[in-house]
C-alpha cells in the first residue's frame, strides 16, 4: 500500500507496531488531500487533539492545530470556530477522552451544532495509561486496575449523539482506510457538527474485541435507502430511493450493537445527516465574519 507523504511531518511515529492509528493517519491524509483537490485550502485546516494514544496524530500531521487537554478537544475546537468561523476545524479524541473526562462537552457539542467535526478513535480502552476500562469498554474487560472483569455495561455513543441533536453521525472501521477516508471527507464537508466514531483495535490492551470485525457490515448510500431491481439482463443493480433515513431509523441502526462482543451487527457508514442552522449561523457577529471571509484579528473596528 502506498503511504501518503503529503501533509506529514518528519516526526518519528511512536504508536505500537500494527496499531490502527497508522491507518487513521493515512485515512486523514487522504481525506484532506481529496478536500484540497475540491478547493479546500490546507491553511484553513485546524486540528485539535485530546490526550491519549490518538493524540500523537497531532505530531504527524503538518497542519495548524492545538494539542489540548484530556477530554477538552471539543470546547477547544469550538473556541477556534468562534475565533475564526472560516477555518475548517476537526478534533481527534479518544473514547476515554470524549466519553469519560469530556462527556459534557460531547453532549453539548451535539446540541450547539457548531460547523466542525469530531473523530473519536474508539479502542474501548485507556491504552496510553496501560489498560484501564473506558465508558465503551465491554462487559468483562480485564484490567490491572480492576479486581474482577469489568462489571459496567458500555454506553452507546451513537445513541447519545443522535439524542443530543448531532446533525451528522457516522461510524467507520479504521482497518478500511478508503472507507474511513470517505466518511471523514463527508463529515468535514457537512455543514454542522459531525460525529464520526472510528472503531479501532487495541492490540495490546483489548485483544478480546478484535473479533468484532466479523460483525461489521456497510450501510447503503449516505442518507438514502437502496433497493435492488433487475436490469434487462436480469442482473441486480442498486436503485437509490429518494428517501432520507429518519432519526428513528438511525437510532434503530445504532441500537443494533451494544458495544459488547457476540451480540448484534455493527453497521458502518453515515447513520444520520440533516441540515439545520449551525452555531455560527445563529450569531450575526460570526455570520458577518463568514461573509467577509475574515477572523476577528482582521476585523477593522
Amino acid at each position: 500500500m502506498a503511504i501518503t507523504r503529503e501533509l506529514r511531518t518528519n516526526n518519528k511515529i511512536t504508536w505500537c507496531p500494527g496499531c490502527p492509528n497508522f491507518a487513521i493517519l493515512e485515512s486523514t491524509a487522504r481525506a484532506l488531500l481529496n478536500l484540497i483537490k475540491q478547493g479546500y485550502k490546507k491553511e484553513d485546516f485546524v486540528m485539535v487533539a485530546g490526550i491519549g494514544c490518538h493524540a500523537k496524530i497531532f505530531d504527524y500531521l503538518d497542519i495548524s492545530g492545538i494539542n489540548g487537554l484530556h477530554g477538552r478537544s471539543l470546547p477547544t475546537a469550538m473556541g477556534i470556530k468562534m475565533g475564526n468561523p472560516n477555518l475548517s476545524v476537526f478534533a481527534f479524541a479518544g473514547d476515554g477522552d470524549t466519553y469519560a473526562e469530556g462527556m459534557e462537552h460531547f453532549i453539548h457539542a451535539c446540541r450547539f451544532n457548531s460547523n466542525m467535526t469530531l473523530f473519536v478513535h474508539d479502542n474501548q480502552s485507556f491504552s496510553l495509561t496501560t489498560g484501564q476500562p473506558t465508558p465503551t469498554s465491554q462487559l468483562g474487560f480485564k484490567s490491572k486496575a480492576l479486581p474482577f472483569p469489568n462489571p459496567q455495561a458500555p454506553i452507546n455513543p451513537l445513541r447519545i449523539a443522535l439524542s443530543a441533536g448531532a446533525s451528522f453521525v457516522a461510524r467507520c472501521n479504521s482497518k478500511d482506510i478508503a472507507g474511513t477516508a470517505e466518511i471523514m471527507e463527508k463529515a468535514i464537508k457537512h455543514n454542522g457538527f459531525s460525529f464520526v466514531e472510528i472503531i479501532q483495535d487495541c492490540l495490546i490492551f483489548n485483544q478480546d474485541m478484535i473479533a468484532r470485525n466479523e460483525l461489521m457490515y456497510k450501510l447503503p448510500e449516505t442518507s438514502r435507502f437502496v433497493s435492488k431491481k433487475s436490469n434487462l439482463d436480469g442482473a441486480q443493480e442498486p436503485k437509490v430511493l429518494d428517501k432520507k433515513r429518519s432519526l428513528d431509523e438511525a437510532m434503530a441502526l445504532a441500537k443494533e450493537w451494544d458495544y459488547n462482543l457476540g451480540k448484534g451487527k455493527i453497521a458502518l457508514g453515515v447513520f444520520f445527516q440533516e441540515n439545520k442552522k449551525t452555531f455560527e449561523e445563529h450569531w450575526p457577529q460570526l455570520t458577518n465574519l463568514m461573509k467577509s471571509k475574515i477572523g476577528w484579528k482582521d476585523l477593522k473596528r
Binding site: T9, I66, L299
Partner: protein
C-alpha cells in the same frame, strides 16, 4: 457633609430602582454617591437592602450609621431601627399602600423632597427612567407627602457613576475585546450581562458554554485563532478553569481572566464579599509559568487595569487575572475625571490561515510537536521565566501601587482591592499613609522601600488570614504584626476602620 440612607424591602420589590433614581438625580446635581447592595441568595421575598451614601466630597464607601430609612416593608424598620441616628427619618410603606408596584417610585419621590431637590427634576427623571403616568403620579404623591429636611444646592462636579462590573466590561470594550466567555456565577455575572447586552451594537461575541472548563478551553481556542479573549467567573468556577490556565502557561496563548471573589470555601456565602482568593489567583494551575494578577480598587482603576491586562496578555502571551470581589463588582461608585487613554492591543503571533501555527499542551520543539528532550525542556522553561522578566519590566510603566493619605506619615496602612474606598474615607484628615497594592504579581519593588520607611505597619484585608500580608512577607522578608481583618462576608465601613486605627493616633 455625608448622608447615609438605607433602602430595604423584599427581593423583587424594587429597592434598586430607588437607589438608581436618587443617585442619578444627586450625581447630576454634582454630588458623589456610593451605593452598597446587601442581599441574600433569594429571588423573591427575604430581606434586601441598599445603603446609599451622598456626599459633597469624593466618597468610596457606605456607613452603617443611618440618617434615614426607606422601608418597603415593616421588617426593614424592625431590622434597622437601631442603626438610625436619633434625629433620623423613616419613610414607611403605609401611606402608599394603594400604589402597588409604584411604591418604590413614591418613596423615591418622598426622599427627593427630604433632600431638597425640586419636583420638576424628579418628574423629568421618572419620565426618563419609567415613563408611565402611574409612576409620575406616584412620584408626585411621594414628593408631596414629606417635608424638606436638607438643602442640597447644585454643585459644579461632573460626576460619572459606575459599578465595578460595568467598569470591567467597559475596560474590555476599550481594549477592543472580540470574545467574552462565561458561565453564570455571582458576583461575576453582571459583567456577563452587561457585555451580552452590548455585544450586537459593539460587535463582539458573548457566549455561555456548558461550564467553566469549556469556557477556559474555548477561550484558549479562540485566542489561538486570533481573537482577543476575556473569560469571567468567581472562585468555584475559577477552580474548574485551573487546568486550562496551566494549558495557557505552556501554550502562551493570550488570556484575560476576570475573577470576582465571594466568601468561600465551596459555595460559601454566594452574594456577599471577601478578598479570600488572592492565593488562588497567584498560584492556581499546575507547573511553573508566569502570570499577571491585578486588583483594581475602584471602577476607574477597573477600566484601566482591564485594558492593561489585555495589553500585557497579548504582548507577552501571558495569563492576566483581574481580581475583584462582590463589593467592588456590585457597588455603585461615582468618580470625576477621565480615565487614561486606552492602550492599543497588538497581536504579534502566528495565526492560521495566514501562517501555520501549532500550540501544544505537551512540552514541544520549535515546530510545535511534542518532545521529552531534556535540553528543550530546560530551554522552554527558561524562556517562560525570561518572558516573566520582560513582563516585570513592562509593568513598571503602569501604576503598580498608589500612595494615598499623608505622604509623610510613619503609619503605613497596606491593603488592596475593594477596601480602598473605606480606607480612604477612614483616614481622611488623620496621620496615616495608605499604600494600595494594585499589581499583586509582579509586585512593585517600591513596596519594600515604603515598608522599611514606616514606623508602624498596618495590614487591612477583607479576609481571615491576611493573604497580602503573607505575600509581602514572602517577597520582602518583612512581617506585618498589626492586622485589621474582617471576614463576616461584609465589607469594611470607614467607622469600623477608624475605631481600630485609634491606637496609632
Amino acid at each position: 457633609m455625608r448622608i447615609n440612607i438605607l433602602i430595604g424591602g423584599r427581593a423583587g420589590q424594587g429597592i434598586n430602582k430607588i437607589s438608581q433614581i436618587v443617585s442619578q438625580l444627586m450625581s447630576s446635581r454634582g454630588y458623589f454617591t456610593f451605593n452598597y447592595r446587601d442581599y441574600p441568595s433569594v429571588i423573591r421575598g427575604g430581606h434586601n437592602f441598599n445603603i446609599l451614601s451622598i456626599s459633597d466630597e469624593r466618597i468610596g464607601s457606605h456607613e452603617t450609621i443611618i440618617d434615614g430609612i426607606i422601608a418597603m416593608d415593616s421588617l426593614t424598620i424592625e431590622l434597622h431601627k437601631a442603626e438610625l441616628k436619633k434625629d433620623g427619618f423613616i419613610i414607611t410603606p403605609d401611606e402608599f399602600s394603594d400604589l402597588g408596584i409604584n411604591l418604590n417610585v413614591a418613596q423615591a419621590g418622598a426622599l427627593i423632597k427630604i433632600l431638597g431637590i425640586e419636583n420638576n427634576l424628579l418628574i423629568e427623571e421618572i419620565n426618563k427612567e419609567i415613563g408611565t403616568k402611574g409612576a409620575v403620579a406616584a412620584a408626585e404623591k411621594g414628593f408631596n407627602s414629606e417635608k424638606q429636611k436638607f438643602s442640597l444646592k447644585k454643585l459644579n462636579n461632573k460626576i460619572s457613576m459606575m459599578t465595578g462590573s460595568e467598569a470591567v466590561a467597559q475596560g474590555a470594550i476599550n481594549s477592543k475585546m472580540d470574545i467574552y466567555l462565561a458561565y453564570p456565577m455571582t458576583p461575576a455575572t453582571p459583567v456577563l450581562t452587561e457585555l451580552a447586552q452590548r455585544q450586537l451594537k459593539e460587535n463582539f461575541l458573548v457566549f455561555q458554554p456548558e461550564n467553566e472548563i469549556a469556557v477556559a478551553n474555548a477561550g484558549l481556542g479562540a485566542s489561538f485563532a486570533g481573537a482577543k479573549v476575556m473569560i469571567g467567573t468567581s472562585g468555584g468556577g475559577f477552580d474548574l478553569m485551573t487546568e486550562a490556565l496551566s494549558l495557557q502557561g505552556i501554550t502562551q496563548l493570550p488570556l484575560v481572566v476576570y475573577l470576582a471573589s465571594r466568601p468561600g470555601p465551596a459555595t460559601g456565602v454566594p452574594t456577599y464579599t471577601a478578598q479570600c482568593d488572592l492565593d488562588l489567583a497567584l498560584r492556581a494551575g499546575h507547573g511553573e509559568f508566569p502570570r499577571i494578577v491585578i486588583a483594581p480598587g475602584c471602577p476607574k482603576e477597573s477600566m484601566e487595569n482591564t485594558n492593561e491586562a489585555f495589553y500585557l496578555s497579548n504582548k507577552f502571551g501571558a495569563l492576566s487575572i483581574i481580581l475583584s470581589d462582590k463589593h467592588l463588582a456590585e457597588s455603585e461608585y461615582s468618580y470625576i475625571g477621565e480615565i487614561n487613554k486606552p492602550l492599543k492591543i497588538e497581536l504579534k503571533r502566528n495565526f492560521p490561515p495566514n501562517s501555520k501555527a501549532k500550540a501544544n499542551s505537551y512540552e514541544c520543539d520549535e515546530t510545535g510537536n511534542a518532545t521529552d528532550d531534556p535540553k528543550i525542556i530546560i530551554k522552554n522553561a527558561d524562556a517562560r521565566m525570561k518572558n516573566y522578566e520582560e513582563i516585570k519590566k513592562e509593568c513598571k510603566k503602569f501604576t503598580m501601587i498608589k500612595i494615598h493619605g499623608n505622604k509623610n506619615s510613619k503609619n503605613l496602612i497596606i491593603g488592596w482591592g475593594s477596601t480602598k474606598g473605606a480606607i480612604l474615607d477612614a483616614i481622611a484628615g488623620l496621620d496615616f499613609k495608605f499604600l494600595q497594592v494594585i499589581y499583586l504579581k509582579p509586585l512593585s519593588d517600591e513596596i519594600k522601600k515604603e515598608m522599611q520607611k514606616a514606623k508602624n505597619l498596618i495590614l487591612i484585608e477583607n479576609n481571615q488570614t491576611g493573604q497580602l500580608g503573607r505575600l509581602l512577607r514572602e517577597k520582602t522578608g518583612i512581617s506585618i504584626k498589626n492586622r485589621i481583618l474582617k471576614y463576616d462576608g461584609r465589607p469594611f465601613t470607614p467607622n469600623e476602620i477608624k475605631e481600630q486605627l485609634k491606637k496609632w493616633q
